[in-house]
């Protein structure tokens, strides 16, 4: 038989078993956090009619998309989860209860130039709350609590959720007579962390064509920092000059007002006037999330409020708020930085049962007993020497091995060996599940380490 050399396409993540289990745990924490806030899971097709997926059209998207013909159909792979959501909500509008809260953790596809840490197939983990005609600000206020729960769930505490409000920015630009220049200005301001205020000033003057006074006012504005109350106080000085600004400030106050009730500590939250999010799409609160010890990673969870989810598909105003975690990239970066906890159990089983006698019956029964006790159990059926069996157990990394030889069978017991400590105990099979579960539960283990 001619052999085709196996390979996985570049830009596609394919993990070894241990890493895959870490990935699943990470996805599971996100899923549980989303579900605990009353979001319902959706699973839309990966393939859609290209005409529908590209209704908005143009730009980078169109170049990156995987698009192909099948028969007469012009098809494309989804490049995000927002466009399929818009289609879904428009299509099933009359069958949904609004506000409609959904989460989706699915793969999306972008045929970008392959480079290190860039993926062509990657998971996004999104939530959105969609209102029918209107949506209360309380939904925007709740988002930081959800982000907080996800990242605490990972085992982290050194992260910060940063929020701003696009109405504040646009209102402020309007005060300066720059209401039509918001996009350009935001793009310049967005570089503040990377290039510093002096260079942002130059961009504002030269690229955006602002006056010195306008540029200075903008720099003064984005220099407003401090505790939430300080920032809000400073913003009050600008009140009464733009209706949009005043509305944005009221919204920002509503978002910050109930942080304590939402269980979000002050140190994990900051109002940050430099945050804009690139997309024109956002119209109100915007969110970013930074890992404080790893700012170079950039935002690990972002999103915001928008006014019109599905205008391309339905003639109804459907405002919403949503956030997205780029799960594949986040996992890749955490792994690369050595932040995935190596102590996290990622064996395929909790116990490997090793029959040591010709009749496998008692070992099979023991394995069933352990499973009924809630454990993940692998029965090792291969005819190998004891040393090879233990080598296999070690390679799998199972925390426990259960051994059944003639002596144990005669005494009505099994031997349970803790592979991590080497400690071996002998006990009746019925007592083995509780013993093993007790030892497993003992180590509560964060998924991600704060520092490498």
């Amino acid at each position: 038989m001619e052999i085709v050399k196996p390979r996985t396409l570049s830009g596609f993540m394919e993990l070894l078993p241990g890493k895959q289990l870490q990935f699943e745990k990470m996805a599971g924490i996100i899923r549980d956090a989303y579900a605990s806030y009353g979001f319902t899971p959706l699973d839309t097709p990966a393939i859609e009619d290209a005409k529908i997926l590209l209704a908005k059209g143009g730009g980078e998207t169109e170049k990156q998309i995987y698009r192909f013909q099948k028969g007469d159909s012009d098809l494309a792979l989804r490049f995000d989860l927002t466009v399929p959501l818009a289609k879904y909500v428009a299509l099933h509008y009359s069958e949904l209860a609004f506000p409609f809260r959904r989460f989706q953790i699915s793969k999306v596809y972008r045929g970008e130039r392959a480079q290190r840490g860039r993926f062509r197939e990657f998971y996004q983990a999104d939530i959105d709350v969609i209102g029918d005609g209107r949506l209360d600000i309380l939904n925007e206020a709740e988002i930081p609590a959800i982000i907080y729960r996800v990242f605490r769930g990972f085992g982290l505490s050194r992260f910060q959720i940063r929020v701003n409000n696009r109405k504040i920015l646009n209102g402020f630009y309007a005060m300066l007579g720059l209401q039509d220049r918001g996009g350009d200005i935001m793009r310049a301001v967005d570089k503040l962390d990377k290039i510093g205020p002096e260079k942002v000033r130059l961009l504002l003057l030269e690229d955006c064509g602002l006056t010195e006074d306008q540029a200075d006012q903008i720099l003064r504005f984005i220099a407003i920092r401090g505790a939430n109350t300080q920032v809000l106080e400073a913003l009050e000085d600008y009140q009464g000059r733009s209706e949009l600004f005043d509305q944005g400030l009221a919204e920002l106050k509503a978002v910050t007002a109930n942080l304590a009730a939402f269980g979000v500590p002050e140190e994990n939250f900051a109002v940050d006037l430099t945050i804009a999010r690139g997309l024109d799409y956002y119209t109100g609160t915007v969110y970013e999330t930074m890992l404080l010890d790893h700012p170079q990673i950039g935002s690990v969870c972002s999103g915001g409020r928008y006014d019109n989810l599905a205008g391309y598909y339905i003639d109804k105003p459907l405002p919403g708020v949503g956030i997205s975690i780029g799960l594949t990239r986040l996992f890749y970066v955490l792994d690369e930085q050595g932040l995935l906890n190596p102590a996290l159990p990622c064996a395929p089983a909790d116990v490997l049962v090793l029959p040591m006698t010709a009749d496998p019956g008692p070992a099979i029964a023991l394995a069933q007993t352990l499973r009924e006790g809630g454990l993940r159990v692998q029965l090792y059926g291969e005819q190998r020497k004891f040393k090879q069996k233990m080598a296999y157990a070690n390679k799998l990394g199972v925390p426990f091995a259960a051994l059944l030889g003639e002596d144990e069978l005669a005494a009505g017991v099994c031997a349970v060996k803790d592979m991590r400590t080497g400690r071996q105990v002998t006990l009746p099979p019925a007592e083995a599940p509780a013993y093993i579960r007790g030892a497993l539960d003992a180590g509560d283990c964060p998924l991600i380490l704060e520092k490498s």
Copy 2:
């Protein structure tokens, strides 16, 4: 804005929220069952190099596959999970511990002619155990226990796991001098349930060109039925005439010997000599699973033993055994037959918290308390009339609503309403999680009903 009419491609399942939650529960039961037997989750890319995916080539596969160019790359969407597994095992051979046990529950793609109940994108839920050079029969013996756990997990008892062994069939054909005709004969015999023995006999005579004696011997052979011990006894009469047959019978005995230890009741298992599974791929034990009250659905979980998983990619004999559940189709058929339990809770939240005062703070805090108690909680933030709020709760189908009005706040309590019974109690927020969880746990609810 010009409106593009939203639609989902035909042959692609897209579920409403309640149904999606049922689907997720079904997938979750499969996942937990697979994991409890020590299988590790894998997640291979949906897109692979077409040359690799089609290494075997030819046939229906090539016509059905979604294949497309991107830049210079010839790409294709996976059409099953076995070929990507073969690639994975060949590629990562030196990094895996053998036997290697993996499960994968993922979407696969086949551009078949669309018809009712046929899907172009569908989930397969597969397990495989792969040995390096050899694999003990105990792995084949364990498979019925896993199938049993999955279908019991669905809430079913009226199902039957049917097994046969290809070596028995091929050995028997060899006794008749028909060793080269196995494929044709199996295809004819496979129609027994549909067309009856008389017509199978005609097929054997006319299409396969067998003699009357050969056809009669085959019909007599496949008419062997009864309890496992009876079938095995009848098979013993054929012993000593074909080494292959004898080996197959020994394997079948090993597979049936430990059913009780594996916890599989007699009534859920049958040796069935008419089962062959179409694919040449299988070389030993083969499995099918029937829902006894719905034979027209066909097998809902099938698989078997094979000798050479990855011969197209690596020069190593990698025998294995695996089964597959066509999850999307199974879900569709069960739904169509009215067998998905309508009593199964499929609301996005356990509790809807309804603030009734201007300050949402106390309602937010109550929602947090309920979440910390392990509940899925949605906070309803919209400014609507009470009646509209309750209508929303009913449309979502949440089992509980928690209300916080001025009276409750003054008394330091919350009102918890069971939406199913209308019963409302008043209690301190700290006691609400246990009260609600107690009421939720009370109804242990099978996913699938035995009869519609």
